[in-house]
């Protein structure tokens, strides 16, 4: 392989990987705080992209307004869903909330199809999607922006969780709901915050990846599946793990086309995932979640 082609594959893989990392982070924020395994995380991304499409293309809002608005819309939806449909299920156990989010995923997908139609849509790129020459390499600005923004956001969230009081409170609520309540941490509001953040970060992932492909009602699955696998590889709830897992999957996907029939690209991802999980069943960075069976 030529070095130039190699670097281009690496960049496009890493860019998609950054997005998967965002999906995994949003998912992890919800899971580690509320123990909800949110199957609809990818569909939050799809919804975010469609809302952004309406704001940008139909209402002609500027980009700096579109992104936060779309993220807030999806974040608020996530909070509402948690309040109404998930909170009554916590006492029944994780399986029940999990099944509820499967229902949510299909509801979102179908709602998108009803509102925006089954026809694919295009969300234009603000960073530009024609390649420019950088040090002799052809770089697509949108891809570079995806990578930079997702890594920056991951870093910011990491600081939020480790350095701020409210982030620490969220980790405490994750550790033991009852004790956190006794310590005066407002668990209800912490849960809402976790869902807002998870939904908003998920939406951002969808908005960022949308311009390199098409908007389709089922795009949530192509976002969610690698996102879950990334979260898993990194060890659920570990933020550095999610980033490394996401990048790894993006890069494997990108290079898989050189090895196998491109139509079977995703098969390589599944196989790689299963192989890794067989070697290391709890992921790479899951110290805090291990050995807690009682």
């Amino acid at each position: 392989m030529e070095p130039a082609a190699f670097f281009q594959s690496l960049l496009s893989g890493a860019s998609a990987g950054g997005i998967y990392a965002l999906v995994a982070i949003g998912f992890g924020v919800m899971y580690r705080t509320t123990r909800v395994f949110n199957f609809a995380q990818g569909d939050f991304g799809a919804l975010g992209a469609y809302v952004a499409f309406t704001l940008a293309v139909t209402w002609h809002l500027p980009f700096w307004a579109v992104v936060p608005l779309a993220c807030i819309v999806v974040g608020v939806l996530a909070v509402v869903v948690e309040r109404i449909a998930l909170r009554p299920l916590y006492r029944h156990g994780e399986a029940y909330t999990f099944i509820a989010t499967i229902g949510l995923a299909f509801a979102i997908q179908s709602a998108i199809q009803q509102i925006w139609g089954p026809r694919p849509r295009v969300l234009p790129s603000v960073f530009g999607d024609t390649a420019v020459q950088v040090f002799g390499l052809r770089v697509v600005p949108q891809l570079a922006a995806m990578l930079v923004i997702s890594l920056a956001l991951a870093g910011a969230l990491y600081l939020f969780f480790t350095r701020t009081k409210i982030g620490t409170a969220m980790r405490a609520a994750a550790h033991n709901r009852r004790v956190a309540g006794l310590l005066g941490i407002p668990v209800d509001r912490i849960f809402s915050l976790a869902f807002f953040l998870g939904g908003a970060v998920g939406a951002l992932a969808g908005i960022l990846i949308a311009p390199i492909g098409l908007l389709t009602p089922s795009m949530g699955a192509s976002l969610g599946v690698p996102g879950f696998i990334a979260a898993l590889l990194g060890g659920l709830g570990s933020m550095p793990g999610a980033v490394i897992g996401g990048l790894l999957i993006g890069i494997v996907q990108s290079f898989a086309v050189f090895v196998v029939d491109p139509r079977y690209r995703d098969l390589v991802v599944y196989a790689a995932f299963i192989l890794v999980m067989l070697v290391r069943p709890s992921g790479f960075f899951s110290e805090e979640f291990r050995a807690r069976r009682i």
């Binding site: 110290e287 050995a291 069976r293 009682i294």
Partner: protein, 257 residues
């Protein structure tokens, strides 16, 4: 057949930086009722979890009847003759009481999957395990509720049901995690009789307990844990008089040996 049914050799368990069990060695002779006491966080439940395979040992070994069990998964330890109850009520809520105990009979029930599909054979084997299960329920005084769902029981009754399920596995060694918590005085009396009866049937008992009169009356030997270490062991009266034990309960740190 070894003299000591249960033997722990230099067992250590670590959770991250926390040393939950620190070089614990103890032996429990066959047929004894042993209490493990100690302040909260002293490692009592971790000890039971280590013996039953819910936490991994950092170091040491555990022998049941002379056989090393610390590498076996939990269910294999049960097959080797171990049973336990849990600290919080631990029942199968959507099953009725009979079926809860029949789960405990799993190991001894000869009913295969094929048997289930042979008309007549299924009914007959079921009738037999139901009768055995009923006996176990009668022992803890729950036979009148046999057809209710376990969810519908009061907390104390659920704990007794958990005990009945554990006893149904016909264990050589049973671990009881705070068996009297949540029970009223009548239920405690009954439980005391049940534990004695279990011992008379050749079962060795290790229990964690905070209820001191219960321990002093029932148990042959008491082991005291503090900060994950054994600080005393002996007859109930001796242990009660031990200054180190008194100090650990009053919170004097200088008492660590």
């Amino acid at each position: 057949m070894t003299e000591h049914l249960l033997e722990l050799r230099n067992v250590s368990v670590r959770f991250g930086g926390l040393q939950a069990l620190d070089d614990v060695s103890l032996t429990v002779p066959r047929g004894e009722i042993r209490a493990v006491i100690g302040p909260n966080g002293s490692g009592k439940t971790t000890l039971l979890n280590a013996i039953s395979g819910f936490v991994r040992l950092a170091r040491g070994e555990i022998l049941l009847d002379g056989r090393a069990i610390h590498r076996l998964p939990s269910h294999r330890r049960v097959q080797a003759g171990l049973a336990r109850t849990f600290q919080s009520a631990s029942v199968f809520g959507e099953l009725d009481l009979i079926d809860n105990v029949r789960v405990g009979l799993h190991r001894t029930d000869p009913h295969s999957l094929i048997d289930a599909f042979i008309p007549g054979r299924n009914e007959r084997l079921s009738a037999e395990t139901r009768r055995t299960a009923m006996d176990h329920l009668r022992a803890v005084g729950l036979d009148t509720h046999a057809a209710s769902l376990a969810d519908s029981l009061a907390y104390g009754q659920q704990r007794l049901l958990d005990f009945a399920r554990a006893a149904a596995t016909k264990p050589a060694l049973i671990l009881l995690d705070e068996p009297t918590a949540g029970l009223n005085s009548t239920e405690i009396e009954r439980l005391r009789g049940d534990i004695r009866r279990l011992r008379d049937l050749n079962t060795t008992v290790v229990l964690i307990e905070h209820h001191m009169p219960f321990v002093m009356d029932l148990c042959d030997t008491v082991t005291v844990l503090n900060f994950g270490r054994v600080i005393a062991s002996g007859r109930p009266a001796e242990v009660r008089a031990d200054p180190a034990v008194v100090a650990s309960y009053l919170g004097t740190r200088g008492a660590k040996p």
